[in-house]
Symmetry: C2
DNA sequence: CCAGTCCGCGGTAACGATCCCAGCGATGGA
DNA sequence: TCCATCGCTGGGATCGTTACCGCGGACTGG
């Protein structure tokens, strides 16, 4: 009696125990081909008794499918990606897929390596929020190998066959800016990771090839324009993706542009930095300044004033990306699906009608 | 010239192009055995030209190693797990491993299925924050199959061979409670997910088999005791893991126990709920009540008063777990490693000396 | 009663790598 | 000169599964 001891029990063990060939055992377990009811029961019983578990690797060698999707994102501890990955993960489970996760720290080299490893592991598809919009050869080679690719919230124009699922950043900005305009604001600043673009470069057709930050900036400019308000690059406060940097940018903006009555922050970190700046400067919001943040973070209702924000559907974005990826895998012919999800405005206490003109904003300087 | 078209290029293609056998090609690429410098260069050139990428599945069939670890957690969008997974992920990369992620929504059934799938995919090890402390048969069977297991922050006494990496919850509570005691507090409430234990059940030896919530409660009780303060179950406000629930629990506590001068929240959500309750009740902190939170969340410095917290090293916890898992894989004989990481007290503005006795806490009731 | 189907089953070839072993020429020492 | 050794190479076996083909027997219809 050759017992496989602690080693894994294979289909041959099951077949032997059930007294059939491995072919029959395979059919009985995978429920295909034709097997008599009697042997099917016998085989399944044998499998049960031995604690048989199919080796997916061997299966994948034959079938060419691993039932695994790769997910490549810059930072899993970022709540946006955390929620997106949760969406991907739950949707993947529903579709009987698993998730191979790579957090690349925003490093293009690590991203390339991650993609390469995923290809080696023969994932059926990849969902990626690429570091770069242009430097995407590794993604193109992925396509060449027949691996489905879905871009998450960041475009990559060169990757022709990839589907693309993103938040409607332009629309999200419109929600924010229009809300401020409706309240009567005219001098509206913006805190953004992007650098200010000259007003003659505001081109709506670019929306689908821009990364989130420039896209939101574009949406801001377009919303102003369609309200008949001049887009002024001087009101664009550029900042790195860091709270302290955003804080400093807001200070500079408010100092150099005292006419500003409202500020729109295009990012969760930037929102936090801006909010901190207001507190440190002793600026009353919304009395002296209206503030609108991005992403409905868990502190938005904890601070005073409670923060008005544009919420983005990150969980749903993840779900949609996975569904889209699977659709791409099933039908590779249909290419370049582009799906876009809307943001939502949540009005709280940090936005209000602007202070009466003539009334100056006082900042308590340390 | 049989070109593999869009299909994947195998080592045989490389061998043919280089004019050698597949064995030689394999040696040249994997850099083992002995190959002449000339053929090595030729093979590597051929591989380069064809864009050869080794099929990891086939390799794993032979070697028995997949260079993949499974990670099973209840909720990836929870910042604690987000940070832990980032730690796992970066450490994994350093060790040339990949991460197969399962988010189980805290459902034991999904956890079981996830573990089973991971076993089928032949992961080399599993890091898991199990849903249940007792219901761990699926983990035991994992061990039986020779898969290394490391428990993340939640014990599972029955899983004999698993290593265990956790925050020192008892110690973390001590930091919080001792800080309050040092300030002069004597009537200290606690908000916890655990249910109040009778004072005769406070047993320090239980620390290593308790889940985070009860462990923190135990630490609270022990810290009080060693300061000569009676542990009073009436001061324990139990709450579900939800902000609204915590908020309600705090209200009940403050109403029924007006003598309380400080509250320790044992969890990030509970901290948020407690903070919200204070704001809604119009209670001045730290003037009327000292508050100490758990987890250094990004809003801790945004709210007023800025929140004193016990920080837990979630990123480092993930790193440690992965290192520990690898150690377990390398040396399976050495069992039941138990590593514990300390929390850190960050004193901010929400804790201060208690109000003078006789001075009542006023709550602005709606 | 015979021929044609169809069901159930077993044998064997894949999948793409690694691993083991044997062959073979060159080299070196006796 | 001959044998042992060593470096390099190729040919298979192998991992565990699925895919494919063919065979025997039962069943059916004419």
């Amino acid at each position: 009696m050759a017992r496989p001891a602690s080693q894994s029990v294979t289909i041959i063990d099951v077949a032997e125990r059930a007294g059939v060939s491995k072919s029959t055992a395979a059919r009985a377990l995978a429920n295909y081909g034709s097997v008599s009811e009697k042997t099917r029961v016998a085989v399944q019983a044998a499998a049960e008794e031995l604690g048989y578990q199919a080796n997916t690797l061997a299966r994948s060698m034959i079938t060419g499918r691993t039932m695994t999707v790769g997910v490549v994102i810059p930072d899993i501890s970022n709540p946006f990606f955390g929620n997106a990955v949760r969406g991907i993960s739950t949707a993947a489970r529903e579709e009987h897929y698993d998730v191979l996760l790579s957090s690349t720290e925003g490093d293009i080299g690590l991203e390339r390596r991650a993609v390469s490893v995923l290809a080696g592991k023969k994932v059926d598809g990849v969902i990626i929020a690429p570091v770069s919009t242009e430097d995407t050869e590794h993604l193109e080679s992925l396509e060449a190998k027949g691996v489905a690719v879905t871009l998450l919230d960041r475009p990559a124009p060169k990757v022709a066959a990839a589907s693309y699922v993103a938040v409607d950043h332009v629309g999200a900005s419109s929600l924010a800016v229009n809300h401020l305009i409706d309240l009567g604001h005219r001098e509206i600043g913006i805190v953004t990771e992007a650098s200010a673009m000259p007003s003659d470069q505001i081109d709506p057709t670019l929306a689908s090839v821009l990364r989130p930050a420039p896209a939101r900036l574009l949406g801001y400019a377009m919303a102003l324009r369609s309200a008949g308000i001049r887009y002024d690059p001087a009101l664009v406060a550029s900042s790195a993706y860091a709270r302290a940097s955003a804080s400093a940018a807001v200070r500079r903006l408010l100092e150099s542009q005292p006419q500003v009555t409202a500020v729109y922050c295009t990012d969760s970190e930037l929102s936090a930095g801006a909010f901190a700046a207001l507190q440190e400067l002793g600026i009353d919001s919304p009395g002296q300044l209206s503030l609108i943040g991005f992403d409905d973070q868990d502190w938005a209702t904890l601070v005073r004033p409670r923060l008005t924000v544009v919420e983005q559907p990150s969980y749903q974005l993840g779900r949609t990306a996975l569904k889209e990826l699977i659709a791409t895998m099933v039908n590779p012919a249909e290419r370049r699906q582009h799906r876009t999800l809307r943001g939502r405005l949540i009005v709280r206490d940090s936005t209000a009608r602007p202070r009466k003109s003539g009334e100056e904003r006082r900042t308590a300087t340390l």
